[in-house]
Structures are given as C-alpha cells and as structure tokens.
Chain length 262, copies 2
C-alpha cells in the first residue's frame, strides 16, 4: 500500500494531537513525523473537520505544540462553507463555536434562509438548538448545512458528541437531509487534493475516523490508513462497510513505512 | 367515522391545553369537552407522552386549569418504563426532566447498564448529553430507552425540540436503535386500551401529532382524529404515510360529532 506515493493528506485531531480543554497534547512521534514528511519532498496537506476555531488560531495552537504547519496547508470546512453560501446566495443562521465566528465575518447573515451547524460544543444548548430548529421550520424549504457529520471525538477528558449527532437531531425534527461540507463529502476531499496538487491514485489519507477519513478518502480513489490513536476503537477493525488499506500504530509508524518506499 | 364508539383516548398537550413556561393555557372548549365525554357515559383515558412531570403533578396542573382528570386516568411513559426496567433488571442512567425523577424513586440506578431518555428540556445540556453518550459507549451492548420519539411540540412561546431529536442524536453517535416507550409504540397503546377497557375497534384516539398519535393508534386498529390545534401544521394534511380518519377543528368539535352519534 505504500508504493508510488507523491502526497499525503493528514487528519489533525487524533492523528497529530489529542484535543482537550487545556488545548490538547501532541501524540508521541507526530511532531517529528510531520518534519520528516516535509524533509522527504512528499507533498503534504492537512485535511480537518475542525470547526472549533478559525484556521489561523487552529494553526497557532498546533505551532505552539511544535508542529510545522501553516494556514495555507489546512483544508477546513468553514472556508468551504463560505464559498458555498456565496455561490448560492444563502444567508446563514450560525450554530457554531464562538471561536469560529470570524470565518463568517464577510457573510451576510441578515434574514437567514439556512442554518449552518458546526461543532458548537458549549454552544449546543437547549435554547440554541431550539432557535436553529425554529429558523429551519420557518423556511418554506429548510436548508441545513453541516460542517462535518462526525459521530464523536476523543478529548483528553473523554469522548464528546460531534456535530453529526446534532445534525441528526435537526434532520429528524425538521424532516430534512443536511448538506455536509467537510469530510467525508467527496467535494471536500477533491478540494484538499487540488490544494495538495497530486491525483488521488498517488495520495494517501491518514486518519483516526474509519468512516469520515478512511471511507471518504477511499471513495475518492485514494488509499487510506487508520491510525490506532485518537478516537480509534478496536471494534473499528470489524467495520461492516469500510476496510482501511492498512492499520498503523500511529502517524510515526505510517511515515516510517512510507519513507522506506521512496 | 363516529359510529359505534365506546371509548376515547385523548392526547393531552396540544389537545387539552398548550404547554408553556407559565404552565400553559387550556385550548378553547376543551375543559367543557372533557366534562361532556364523562357525562355521556363514554369511557375515557388520557394517553400522553408527557415526561416533564410526574403524573401526580401533571394531573394537578390540569385540574388547576379546570379539567376533570385523575392520575388513574392517565397512561404515561415513565410508569411503563419502570415496569420494563424491573422486568429486565436494567439500572438506568437517567437523562430526564428534574420533575420526572420521583417516578424512578423505586428503581436501582447504581452502576447503570442502560440510558433512559425523556423530554429533559433544560437538562438537555452539552455536558449531560456527553455523559449519557459515554455511559452508552461504555456498555458492551448499549441499551437506549426513549420515552417517546416525538420530533417537536408547541409551547406558548414557540416550537421546541422533543425527546425524539435527542434520541436520534444518541442513536447515531452510538450506532444503536432506541427502544421507544410511549406513543407510537404498539405496546403503549395496548396498555392504554387495557386501562380504557374497550377493544381498539370501538375506540377513537384524538391527538395533534400525525405520526405519534394518529399513525400509532391506527396501527393498533383504532380510528384516529387529528385536531387542528397544538403542533398541527397544514402540511400534515399531505402526510405521505398517515391519513387520519378525520380532521377536526379542535377537541370540542370532535366531541360534538361523536356525541351526536350515540
């Protein structure tokens, strides 16, 4: 699986670091692994569903942990959603994390005709969920845009429900199907590949999420590895729909194997 | 549809009264309609998915609005859930409204092996949802029991997400299917009919919820009316799966028609 590789797409949370209220901690060997990828001449893009911060602040946090990463190297859902909103003249009611709001500064939010849902974390209050629900129910044709469809993720203090769970709640209540911006949407992987500058056959996705990272990337014609870090659970290895091209202990091991084949 | 009737099952919220932070307000004509049913000799049972209060307090509130109603006349999900928990030796982690907790006083809640979800309202916090999620994920075989599967309901200050939306969030995150206690579960209607003492062919359900009241009752062989009060929306009249035996303006009109046929 490691042959004829020219570029890597890396998931961030659960691969580079474990997130948490304290900012999170790097996963052993990942800081060095990123440096080795860059030194090898392989192309590299980070492909994240992170929606708890602007890309700027997200990158600053990762740099603070020692990662060699820049904003231009990060493909994230909020900028993709802004492009979609502009293309379709949609004015969002935002149910997102406070720290993500600046990504939507340029977007007209008056008289909303859709709801954009991100990983709002503490903003997932009963009142805020009811408010987003009422906006949707007030529209003739409700439009719900979800920044990802993840089920849960792991923080340093335990598992947390991800945006996908709240998306399902609103989908059910309003009898609509959300449009997903972010992994595993094909358009999102394709834009990450375009930024990577490598065709899918020569790229490998490395992530901790069997469905959103591995399944999504494989549907775009890429190879995909699952790391046994982050939200990985042993039961993922019996997943009825998705089988990774390989399992690796962590990012460092994946990079060891890939660099040996260059 | 009004012939050969011996008993009525009445939904409460949206039929008898509109609920709200102030306790709610009776729907015009409903207090008198309940009195007329009782005076007519028809059998009467109230069949509610109310889980924001014990039956005792719920009945007190309705009596305060002038309704002729007693605890024994109310079929509600919490007592049905307690029977199920005891039968199967399940020890619940409760995510329910504070005012419902006394219904579970007799139930062993140590070392939980299931989650019971009710309409927790303000208790649907990010922290409480994560906690219920972690209990489920910690079980070898997650058991999620939901007190109803309603999508939303109407309070005096607007629409609110009902327990079904949160049930879907946890179902998706944990990849489980909830067991529903309450409408539209067949077992729940059957227990209401047993308390009514009338076979389904001679009973009419009257409710404002096209799926949980009308659809559920019809699947048990009952006739079912939808009132145009409460959460009723004109689009319900084009529902792709469920067609009521009749629409009525409100409970008072239904009772007018039924009593004329006696």
């Amino acid at each position: 699986w490691a042959r004829a590789v020219r570029g890597l797409l890396l998931d961030v949370s659960g691969v580079l670091y474990d997130s948490g209220g304290d900012g999170g901690v790097p996963i052993a060997g990942s800081v060095e692994a990123v440096r080795r990828i860059k030194a090898s001449g392989l192309k590299l893009q980070f492909c994240t569903n992170e929606t708890q911060a602007t890309r700027e602040n997200f990158v600053k946090k990762l740099q603070g942990m020692g990662f060699d990463i820049s904003v231009a190297e990060v493909t994230a859902p909020a900028p993709a959603a802004c492009r979609l909103l502009k293309e379709r003249s949609l004015r969002p009611h935002l149910l997102v994390h406070d720290d993500l709001l600046p990504e939507f500064d340029e977007i007209d939010k008056g008289n909303p005709n859709c709801v954009v849902l991100g990983d709002a974390a503490e903003n997932f209050t009963y009142a805020n969920l009811n408010e987003a629900f009422r906006v949707l129910m007030g529209l003739e044709k409700p439009v719900l845009i979800s920044l990802g469809r993840g089920r849960y993720y792991k923080e340093t203090d335990g598992l947390k429900l991800d945006v996908g769970a709240y998306m399902k709640a609103l989908e059910y209540a309003c009898d609509v199907e959300a449009e997903v911006v972010g992994k595993p949407a094909k358009a999102f992987f394709e834009s990450a590949l375009a930024e990577l500058g490598v065709p899918p056959q020569q790229a490998i996705m490395i992530g901790d999420d069997i469905l959103n990272d591995v399944g999504g990337a494989q549907r775009c014609g890429m190879r995909a590895l699952q790391v046994r870090t982050g939200k990985y659970r042993p039961s993922d290895e019996n997943h009825p729909q998705v089988t990774p091209d390989a399992y690796v202990t962590n990012l460092a091991e994946a990079v060891d194997i890939i660099l040996q084949q260059l």
